[in-house]
Amino acid sequence: MPSILQSQTFPLPYLYRMLQSIIFLLLLVAAFGFFAWQVRKIRANILVGRDRDMSGNVGERFKKTMLVAFGQQKMFKRLTPALLHLIVYVGFLVINIEVIEIVVDGLFGNYFGFHRSLSFLGPLYDALMATNEILGALVIVAVIAFWWRRNRTQPVRRLTGVELRAWPRLDANIILYVEVILMVALFTMNTADLKLHQLRGEDLPGTFPISSMLTGLFPASESALHVLERVGWWAHIVGILLFLNYLPSSKHFHIIITFPNVWFSRLVPQGQFSNVESITHEVKAMMDPSYVVPPAPTAPDGSALAPTSFGAKDVEDLPWTNLLNAYSCTECGRCTSVCPANLTGKLLSPRKIIMDTRDRVEEKYNSPLIFRPNVYGAEAKHEPITDLANATLLRGKVTPEELWACTTCNACVESCPVNINPLESIIEMRRFLVLEESAAPNSLNVMFSNIENNGAPWAFSPSDRFNWADDLFAAEKPAATAVA
């Protein structure tokens, strides 16, 4: 490591290194600042949803987050994609330790003329570099496998569908390409650095099992190697910072938002649907005239809030957790692939409803940098939408035909690796159709009136309800005593 004094005797390289440090600092501040600004917009979008208290149960929530988000528990229902995903996930976590080093090197190393600041770790550094290199190679293999599953003539079924064309399809591939580019940059940097040291007869700290095999492919010129090392270094870190700022426009945002999403999972049995409290007050008042309906909630300044509708017509009618869900979706399609309605050719695709929700909230409120919402046509039995601004989530994107095909079987909820609940959005929109528009299919209206009139969903006379017990006989048999 050349000393600072030494550096100062060579003004030009000194200037060159100082420039690198300053540019790096500016880049880092700009990237994180810009990312924070984008995340704030997403946060604002999520908070347009209806209030729902998800506080408490910290222990249970922590456990769920560790198992489902950090531990990827639900991914392991399908082994092949789970293993491929695990490689990329662990690669992301471990290789990012090296990013710490890159940041330190970039801020101070460039200036003071050192790099590989973590090399003081000694054998641990050797292990870290070796792990990084092996994971890096495995990530490339996994990403190629992912690309193949998605882009071959007959892709994995769940990676197809009306909602998975145009931007979502391109987005998925961009993520894969960027991951390969980042790994290639990492290997370029390591290989060039390694060869540079070899040429100088110096020892590079760290163990590089992959790069040491690649040195033969690199030129034996110190200046060329220096350039390659710098190109690799800058490409890796600039790539990461650009990718960071791509996330808010992409489904890949899941790498961050999965954690809060799982944390705020519903903790009640999946069969328990939400209660509509405003209706409870109405019903109680009907049954008991002395019941005092509590005053409606007011805005923080004490003014009355606009009356809300029953159910959901648009994104702001959904609980905020459903909007958080929408931002957590990786569009993997496990929900749609297990949906009985979708499996038998109906229009319903739980993934589409989640993606439509994100598209809609981004269309109506804060849009991301790259915004290409899905546009559906005849294949989704959609009327051409002329007035985009007023095309609400319901009907503008999600058709009643999709909603009425749901059997509420919870297969989508069960299958989601990040605990998204498409069923809740479906029910909220059904509530709007029934309670605000009386737009249920006619046969369901008949069922409703049967329940109202007969206390049963079928048209039977309530006086026949106990007829099943007529002429009921049993063969007598002494009750068994406990098994000896």
Binding site: P269, V276, S443, G455, W458, R465, A479
Partner: protein, 301 residues
């Protein structure tokens, strides 16, 4: 129970105890048997209700039913989005049951079970709610039901179709399987079972409406899987959609005498319709757990 124990095999008429009568005598039952609308009105499913009552009588449980005072839990209304109607129904039932001081409820219908157990508490109805699969499992474990003395199921192939509202909705997967295991039959699992079970197609108020346009009815998809599993046609099971965990297909088997076991009135209807659609009703039967237990116990008359 009658004071003098009659000889085995003798027919005895059951007068199902009604809650109003018990209350008039100042008595309270150990359990309230919630019959449900299908249990009360559906001709096929009434046989399940009657089988379950025979079991309750047989083990000497002190039970009662609401009779004419029972009304729809509101489940189909709630799933269809009619929250107002649901809450009207729920409040009415809660008023009735709280009036009688009901503490413990057993029901054979997973939809009633889920609604009363999970959705009534927010409206003032707090009860211990047990699905009959769990209740039957307890009776078998306690030795109160020996699952013997009647029809033998030994060697007959049975596959259990998970009800969504029992399984994924409430995490009850083992109780019905434990009940079936007591039958000493040849139990085979469908590929899509337990948490990956495929819906019969009737949930979410689908029971009362036509399906949306598509290429197949859901109950046909499910019945085909059940039949292929029972007959061990590995080829038919190779390309099922929505399989999350691969299980090995069971060996080939004659379909004759096979059984699709269910634990839900709507599944019973959908699977029976599916078997008829596939013209296999002379070979494959669809039964509820309670019917199988009552048959094995030999208490049907």
């Amino acid at each position: 129970m009658s004071p003098t124990t009659p000889a085995a095999g003798e027919k005895r008429q059951i007068n199902v105890p009604v809650m109003a009568d018990l209350a008039a005598r100042n008595e309270s039952p150990e359990i309230l048997f919630w019959v449900g609308c299908a249990g009360a009105f559906d001709d096929r499913y009434k046989r399940v209700t009657r089988a379950f009552v025979r079991i309750l009588e047989h083990v000497g449980t002190k039970y009662a039913v609401l009779g004419l005072e029972e009304s729809c839990t509101g489940d189909p209304a709630k799933r269809a989005g009619n929250e107002f109607l649901f809450q009207m129904q729920a409040m009415q039932n809660i008023t009735t049951m709280n009036g009688y001081g009901i503490k413990k409820i057993v029901t054979a219908c997973p939809h009633c079970f889920n609604t009363i157990k999970n959705e009534y508490p927010a409206l003032g109805g707090d009860y211990e709610v047990i699905h009959h699969s769990t209740y039957l499992q307890q009776l078998i474990n306690e030795g109160k039901v020996g699952v013997s003395g009647g029809e033998s199921f030994k060697g007959r192939r049975i596959t259990f179709h998970d009800s969504c509202y029992l399984g994924r909705a409430n995490n009850i997967y083992e109780a019905p399987r434990d009940v079936l295991a007591a039958l000493d039959a040849d139990l085979v699992e469908m590929k899509r079972s337990r948490a990956n079970g495929l819906c019969c197609g009737a949930g979410g108020a689908q029971m009362w409406k036509d399906a949306e346009p598509g290429k197949k009815e859901i109950n046909i998809e499910r019945t085909e899987e059940a039949l292929a599993t029972l007959s061990g046609q590995a080829a038919a099971l190779a390309n099922l959609g929505g399989v999350e965990t691969e299980t090995s297909a069971p060996g080939p088997h004659d379909l004759q005498g096979s059984i699709i076991a269910v634990s839900c009135p709507f599944c019973l209807t959908m699977m029976s319709d599916g078997v008829k659609n596939k013209e296999q009703e002379s070979r494959v039967q669809v039964f509820d757990l309670a019917e199988l237990v009552a048959s094995a116990e030999g208490i049907n008359a």
